[in-house]
């Protein structure tokens, strides 16, 4: 009897392990491949096709490539810019939407929701023109050191577009977090003559730190992984961010150095995995609360 119960408990495990195999195998490969001269299937091989060939050569090659530091900086800028931008702009907008009665509030909220459901990738063609116009603005367009500017073909421009497209989700989530805060302290502050801005800054923001953390981590991951927007709006896209360089290395028509490519892939994946393992609880809030339907 106990054996049968045990076997029956095993069924869901067997099923889900089989179903999860494609995911697990992919991660396993990337781990093995970064430390191997080459891999046949999942087995590390040396140059002569014998089992073995464990090496750190791929990582050495990766960090010898002078491009990697520019790419990392650019990607980091995009990720941090997106995080700070989304946090600031959406927590600002969410405050009056949650707390103040003003004409047009309902309309603004409905628009936020509609834009949240609306598939923003369909607008990339038109955004191309917007960025080209921004590029014509003196200095702001393409005259800023480090980030280039906010126009077409700059990291700043890519960041700005990413912030804008992330806003509906950000505002909606932030409003949800503000809604859960009791407004007793806030009301006391307002009656004592505290300005709305100071109330937002000193009373409300400290109370939604978990919410800010959740949205912040989510935005960082989005920015760090982002491919389509930099690929579309930066001309020399291979030297833009890690994603686009990796795509360049793995495109058809050239022999692929899988070891190197896997090292670069793991390099991009690692910070995300670390965030994921330690902040899953926060991230799940976003995934269950307001993410897009996804592919």
């Amino acid at each position: 009897m106990r054996v049968r119960a045990f076997l029956r408990g095993l069924i869901p495990f067997l099923l889900i392990i089989v179903l999860s195999l494609p995911i697990l195998v992919g991660y396993l490969w990337i781990l093995i491949s970064t430390f191997a001269q080459r891999t046949y299937g999942l087995l590390p091989m040396d140059a002569d096709g014998r089992l073995g060939g464990i090496t750190l050569k791929n990582w050495v090659l990766l960090f010898q490539d002078p491009r990697i530091w520019t790419l990392t900086l650019n990607t980091l800028f995009l990720a941090l810019g997106l995080t700070l931008g989304v946090l600031l702009v959406s927590s600002l907008a969410a405050y009056p939407l949650s707390r103040i009665k003003f004409p047009g509030r309902k309309g603004f909220l409905s628009l936020t929701l509609i834009l949240h459901a609306f598939p923003s990738v369909t607008l990339l063609i038109a955004i191309f023109f917007v960025l080209r116009w921004i590029a014509k603005i003196p200095i702001l367009g393409k005259g800023i050191p480090l980030i280039g500017g906010f126009g077409y073909n700059t990291i700043g421009g890519v960041t700005l577009v990413s912030i804008a497209l992330q806003l509906p989700l950000g505002i909606w989530l932030m409003k949800g977090f503000f809604d859960t805060i009791s407004w007793d302290i806030e009301r006391a502050a307002l009656i004592d003559g505290c300005s709305r801005f100071r109330t937002w800054r000193q009373i409300l923001l400290p109370q939604i730190k978990p919410g800010l953390a959740a949205l912040g981590i989510f935005s960082f991951i989005q920015g760090w992984s982002s491919f389509l927007i930099p690929y579309t709006f930066i001309v020399e896209s291979r030297s833009a961010v890690i994603s686009t360089y990796l795509n360049f290395l793995t495109s058809e028509n050239r022999p692929i150095n899988y070891g190197l490519v896997a090292a670069l892939g793991l390099y991009q994946l690692l910070p995300i995995l670390i965030f994921y393992v330690f902040t899953q609880k926060y991230l799940l809030q976003i995934f269950s609360g307001g993410m897009k339907g996804g592919a």
């Binding site: 087995l43 603004f108 990738v121």
Partner: protein, 320 residues
């Protein structure tokens, strides 16, 4: 819940103070940055898409040498023999990926809620991995799974031991891989929604059904599935719209080769990325405009089925 006790508690001075604030424009300054970004990157682009779709603008005409075509681009789309091909690719892609997403999401959530809680969490975490993995890294994994000998995992572990012909499977079964690649990402959406729905079914109903002699499968069929009707509808409609307009993974995996060029990718290729370098802005915008109109329409309809009135209630702090 706060409104009731505050109504009588508010002393005269606070009402005055708040009344003064009601006239202030604080809300305007709070909303200004996001309103600006929304105008520049949402509303303006919708207009631009519609306007440019009525022109013959290309790289060759530039931003000044173009002329109005009226509905010319749309008539060209109707007359183009390739349109049917892309439409068919899109339909196949949306229908099969959607099926995969919903069924897999359901299966994963059912399995993980029928195992010890910690293992369930672990496997759900694994199924979220594809969604948080950078798209290019994720596709790289699929490329190596499908690659030909000696590298390919599928060929090394399954095809060769079975003695079948080995090859690079992506050109061979491109459509299958497109569905799998998108499906493994998309399934986690349903998984999360269905899991929270299953976990919200009262424990006593779940347990008493087994005590009464129902098998686990019967309980799934007669107790759990009926509770999932609404979440199923929600996931299906939401993902239909996002699948219809998504193309990032296809772009990286096949770039539209091997009959995987879907409508959204077609628009992208026409306007922003093709081999000839003469970008067809007008044509691409017309293709995108069709998706934009469908997108706006579905988003609005979709909101009606949300309990929208509840979501946009008046804030209570000003109702003193």
């Amino acid at each position: 819940m706060h409104a009731s006790n505050s109504q009588k508690a508010a002393p005269g001075s606070s009402v005055e103070a708040l009344a003064r604030r009601k006239g202030s424009l604080a809300w305007f300054w709070f909303l200004l940055p996001s309103a600006f970004l929304a105008i520049v990157f949402f509303f303006l682009p919708v207009l631009i898409t519609l306007v440019i779709s009525l022109t013959n603008m290309t790289t060759a005409t530039g931003l000044s040498g173009w002329t109005w075509l009226g509905t010319g681009n749309y008539r060209k789309i109707l007359a183009n023999p390739d349109t049917v091909k892309y439409l068919w690719a899109t339909t196949r892609y949306v229908v099969f990926t959607l099926l995969f997403n919903v069924v897999m999401g359901l299966v994963i959530s059912l399995i993980t809620t029928h195992m010890p809680q910690r293992s369930g969490l672990l496997f759900r975490a694994i199924w979220l991995l594809p969604r948080i993995t950078p798209p290019v890294v994720y596709i790289l994994m699929w490329k190596i799974i499908a690659a030909n000998l000696p590298y390919g995992i599928l060929n090394q572990l399954i095809v060769k031991p079975l003695g079948l012909a080995t090859m690079n499977w992506i050109p061979e079964a491109a459509f299958l891989f497109v569905v799998l690649v998108n499906g493994l990402v998309g399934a986690s959406f349903g998984m999360i929604i269905f899991t929270s729905a299953i976990e919200s079914i009262p424990k006593d109903i779940m347990i008493s059904s087994l005590v009464d002699g129902a098998s686990v499968l019967q309980r799934i069929r007669y107790i759990i599935l009926p509770q999932l009707r609404w979440p199923l509808l929600f996931v299906t409609t939401y993902q239909t719209l996002s699948l219809l307009t998504s193309y990032e993974y296809i772009l990286i995996l096949t770039d539209g080769n091997f009959n995987t060029e879907v409508w959204a990718l077609w628009a992208f290729h026409q306007a922003l990325s093709n081999y000839w370098g003469n970008f067809q802005y007008g044509m691409g915008a017309a293709l995108a405009a069709i998706l934009v109109v469908i997108g706006v329409g579905m988003a609005v309809v979709y909101l009606r089925y949300f309990r929208f009135g509840e979501l946009v209630q008046e804030p209570k702090i000003d109702q003193l």
